[in-house]
């Protein structure tokens, strides 16, 4: 049988759904509340397990003149000390600009220069301090606008030589690693026709993911030359691929590498792609036969894994007096950090979409991915959209107020709808944005002024829209294997990751719907690249949509095999057969009922005692064949880079203490168009969790840097993430369902989106309450109070 996906329209449209659209509890719930769930660091590897410690650069920018490992090697219990000279290999996901260990220079404080492998962690730590590195310090650059100029120190003299994907446009001889230009219409004409033009600059700092599980990888290069990695990763296959490419000079091939990913204790993009894991792979090859563990401390988690990139954005918008948007010009300088192998694609995604979820005839977007001497930027829930949306949705609010228009009415008037032309020329997909706007406005009683009994407190309301498309290569694909067991239960293998979002449960519901087997009888197994089929990565909020289609296809293929064998033995036409309650039924013979467990392994017996059929298995694959990254580099016109956008709206009722600036969220609502909520309760989980994470980025989270480029607050003591005391009084999650035609049962992704409107809606509520506009994140109590005092002085 072929494994292409079959049309499925009868199931999505006409049949009442049994398992999809319901909220069965998570299939991983029991494991997680009982302590049975195993994460990488919970596995035991025996007495020969070794421990690695990294030697880190103390300078933001310096040449490495000399490394002396002799004193470290002399420490009893040290097995191996390695440096960049041992692994002179570049690597990277979209651009190979990064190194396993620093080569001739370091580009951020904390960069890995060498590593010690020892018999216990204490020995490794002590010995790492004895590695002597001599540096020649170079001037660093931290500001992305200055870094993009010709006066700035050059961080990557070899930029022109780095292999990269064809949709990146590096500028040789500068720090501009990629420049995405999007042009639609003529913005100058739009501004000339506008009644009002507003221009301003917005700043967004860096943020940390703060998954509670730190990065950890255990790697074993066994005596037969196979490399097995147990990795806390969102991207097992991509990890295998990037590592196989980078370490090919050591003789490693894809076939020789196995990546196993058990449960992951939170990712948020931070465990996507490859960061510290490649060190684990390299170190394993240096101590063949011994598993070696590399686990980052919380501090390293902050300064040497991906960070969310900083942004300085210049926004200019022109409108008619009636509120019609005529032109949007958005120039973004991204502080992408020392290496942009992943982060440049964040910039690229923003560069295609930074006009926001609006119908705009004239668009000019410049997204510059700029090297700086801060840690590598990379994917973080929202993937560029949270960052540009702070400025854009702040700006739209200000435009509306200047026009004397209600900010919600202004957004409603310009909101993008199905069939509108996107910035890069394609048409907008089906979208429930207007419904999202109306439902959020109603939920927070938009238009009604609220007050406080406390004379020192004022109350404002804020609103913001959001949208986001998965940012994927055009050939990002998914696949799935499915097998029945003797009792009619099912095992499914996929290589998407359960990061907490509920992916395993949703995949089980899709299989359940097709095969009429309840989710609790379906086991979805976490990835192992030796056994589970390919998945690009669990990022981009695409696995429900993309891997869901592969899983659906596998289930449909199994169903067809079931019907075929029943037809052969019982004679019923295949198109008269259907599944209900774990049994095959027939539309033309209501008395026929054949339980799956009776034959999905054993087969069906015929009159002569021989059997037909065999163990029922299915496989499915999916690739978004309609996408393309090929477009005009000067305009981005001509390609089809995004599969679709998910849209939504959010609003907040914010109480502010005028004396202290302290803010308190009375109520917040977020509506997202999920297409079809396969599990509504899990979608609500994404809304509530993502919104709280987004609110923290605007209210208090903030990476602080010393003048030398050192992160000053790499702990939860000094970098505050929300505790159970820091949540809004009331969160109203709203699910809108305008089906995505190609999604499984109409579903599209929602995981990242729920962070995206949080920051601007707070800034907009502050202006509503106090009349002050804060244009840099975070919008802290301190900043609000100081702005008030300045205004009153």
């Amino acid at each position: 049988m072929t494994i292409t996906r079959r049309p499925f329209e009868t199931d999505t449209d006409e049949r009442e759904l049994t398992f999809v659209g319901k909220s069965p509890t998570r299939i991983d719930g029991l494991e997680k509340v009982s302590g049975a769930a195993r994460y990488v660091d919970d596995f035991d590897f025996g007495p020969d397990l070794l421990f690695a410690e990294i030697v880190e650069a103390p300078h933001a920018h310096a040449l490495i003149k000399r490394i002396d490992t002799a004193r470290a090697e002399a420490v009893p219990g040290v097995v191996k000390v390695v440096t960049g000279a041992d692994f002179p290999f570049g690597f990277g996901l979209y651009m190979k600009d990064r190194f396993v260990f620093a080569q001739d220079r370091v580009r951020f404080v904390g960069e890995q220069v060498a590593a010690v492998v020892a018999r216990d962690e204490g020995i490794a730590k002590r010995a790492a301090k004895l590695v002597e590195v001599e540096y020649e310090v170079l001037p660093p650059v931290f500001d992305p606008v200055f870094a993009a100029t010709e006066e700035a120190p050059l961080l990557h003299p070899d930029l022109a030589d780095y292999p990269h994907v064809p949709w990146f446009f590096p500028h040789e001889g500068t720090n501009i690693a990629h420049w995405r230009k999007t042009r639609k219409g003529d913005v100058e004409e739009g501004f000339a026709e506008a009644d009002l033009v507003l221009e301003d600059t917005y700043e967004v700092p860096r943020y940390a993911h703060c998954a509670i599980e730190p990065h950890v990888v255990v790697s074993l290069y066994d005596r037969a030359g196979r490399l097995t990695m147990w990795s806390a990763s969102q991207s097992p296959y991509t990890q295998r691929h990037v590592i196989a490419e980078a370490l090919a000079p050591l003789g490693l091939t894809h076939q020789q590498i196995r990546v196993i990913t058990p449960y992951v204790g939170g990712g948020f993009g931070g465990k996507a792609g490859v960061s510290m894991e490649i060190m684990g792979a390299a170190l394993a090859t240096a101590v063949q036969g011994h598993p070696v563990k590399l686990r980052f401390t919380r501090e390293q988690e902050f300064y040497n894994t991906y960070q969310r990139q900083g942004l300085k954005a210049r926004i200019k918008v022109g409108v008619k007096n009636d509120g019609t948007i005529l032109a949007v010009e958005h120039t973004m300088h991204w502080d992408a950090g020392a290496y942009v192998e992943y982060g440049a694609n964040v910039v690229n995604a923003a560069g295609l979409s930074a006009s926001g979820p609006y119908r705009v005839p004239n668009i000019k977007i410049d997204a510059l991915c700029v090297y700086t001497n801060l840690p590598p930027g990379g994917p973080y829930r929202g993937f560029g959209y949270s960052e540009f949306n702070f400025g854009l949705e702040s700006h739209m609010d200000r435009i509306a107020r200047r026009l004397g228009m209600d900010p919600v009415a202004f957004r409603r008037k310009n909101a993008i709808v199905e069939g509108d032309t996107l910035a890069y020329g394609e048409k907008m997909n089906p979208s429930g944005l207007l419904e999202c706007i109306d439902k959020v406005a109603a939920a927070i009683d938009w238009g009604t002024k609220e007050t406080s009994d406390d004379p020192h407190k004022v109350v404002g309301k804020g609103f913001a829209l959001m949208w986001k498309a998965p940012a994927m290569p055009p050939n990002a694909s998914s696949s799935s294997f499915l097998k029945f067991n003797e009792d009619g239960s099912i095992n499914v293998t996929v290589s998407g990751m359960e990061l907490g979002q509920g992916y395993l449960t949703v995949m089980a519901q899709i299989v359940a719907e097709v095969l009429s087997v309840p989710p609790e009888k379906i086991r979805i197994e976490t990835p192992d690249t030796d056994r589970n089929p390919y998945e690009w990565q669990t990022v981009a909020s695409h696995v429900t949509w993309g891997c869901g289609q592969a899983v659906e296809a596998a289930a449909v293929e199994a169903r067809e095999k079931i019907f075929e064998v029943v037809h052969r033995v019982h004679g019923y036409e295949e198109d008269s057969l259907f599944l209900r309650n774990e049994a095959v039924r027939c539309a033309t013979d209501p008395d026929f009922e054949l339980p799956l467990r009776d034959f999905v392994i054993a087969g069906l017996e015929t009159d002569d005692g021989s059997y037909r059929g065999g163990p029922i298995v299915g496989s499915g694959m999916f690739m978004p064949e309609f996408t393309s990254a090929k477009s005009d580099p000067e305009t981005s016109q001509g390609g089809h880079p995004n599969v679709h956008y998910t849209v939504g709206a959010a609003g907040v009722v914010l109480e502010i203490d005028r004396q202290t600036g302290k803010m308190h969220i009375r109520k917040t609502a977020l509506a997202v168009d999920a297409g079809k909520a396969i599990n509504p309760d899990l979608v609500i989980g994404q809304i509530v969790g993502g919104l709280v994470q987004g609110l923290a980025t605007v209210l208090y989270e903030d990476m602080r840097w010393g003048e030398d480029g050192r992160l000053l607050n790499p702990t939860f003591t000094d970098y505050k993430i929300p505790t159970s005391l820091d949540i809004p009084d009331e969160i109203i999650p709203i699910i809108v369902e305008v089906p995505q035609p190609d999604g499984p049962f109409g579903a599209r992704g929602v995981g990242e989106h729920t962070m995206i409107p949080a920051a601007p809606m707070i800034a907009n509520a502050v202006e509503d309450a106090l009349g002050i506009r804060i244009t840099s994140m975070p919008v802290t109590a301190e900043k609000v109070a100081l702005s008030l005092w300045e205004g009153e002085a």
Binding site: T25, V33, C210, G500, F716
Partner: protein
């Protein structure tokens, strides 16, 4: 120089020889094999290493193993009785209270301690009791809902 200690972990007696500087969390995980307690920050900020120490929740990353000599420790593995999950654990499942689940063991223990000491908590009491257990996924709401539901069921 190793020191002999004896601790009771989840009802089982564990005589162990430990280094004076060995951290309790590491001994629980690597010597006793109770992996429910997790390593999250190693400085008492995140609460994922929470265990009950003579019935009180503590950060096991901040205690030395020698201090546990003669004391009783409960990890999440010790919460079920006769292999049956607590009602609170069942409610955490039915409320989909956890996503990635890494914080879950610590929160299960902290919430058990709260409900034992205060069977009639307000929502704010629950928020306060769990304020030292960081969760990055859920926004805490489904966790608080489950604890409040457990308290309600215990009253009825």
């Amino acid at each position: 120089m190793k020191l002999p200690i004896t601790m009771i972990v989840n009802g089982e007696t564990w005589p162990l020889d430990v280094e004076p500087n060995e951290v309790l969390l590491d001994v629980i995980r690597n010597r006793v094999g109770a992996k429910g307690a997790k390593i999250g920050c190693e400085r008492g900020d995140c609460g994922t290493c929470t265990v009950l120490f003579d019935g009180r929740s503590i950060r096991s990353c901040l205690m030395l193993a020698v201090e546990a000599d003669g004391h009783e420790i409960i990890t999440v593995e010790g919460i079920p009785e006769n292999g049956v999950l607590s009602n609170l654990q069942d409610l955490f499942i039915s409320h989909n209270s956890f996503q990635c689940g890494f914080c879950a063991p610590g929160i299960v223990l902290g919430a058990h301690e709260l409900l034992r000491d205060n069977p009639n908590p307000s929502r704010h009491d629950v928020q306060h009791a769990l304020a030292g257990n960081l969760c990055r996924c859920t926004g805490y709401e489904p966790i608080l809902d489950a604890v409040m539901a457990a308290a309600e069921e215990a009253r009825s």
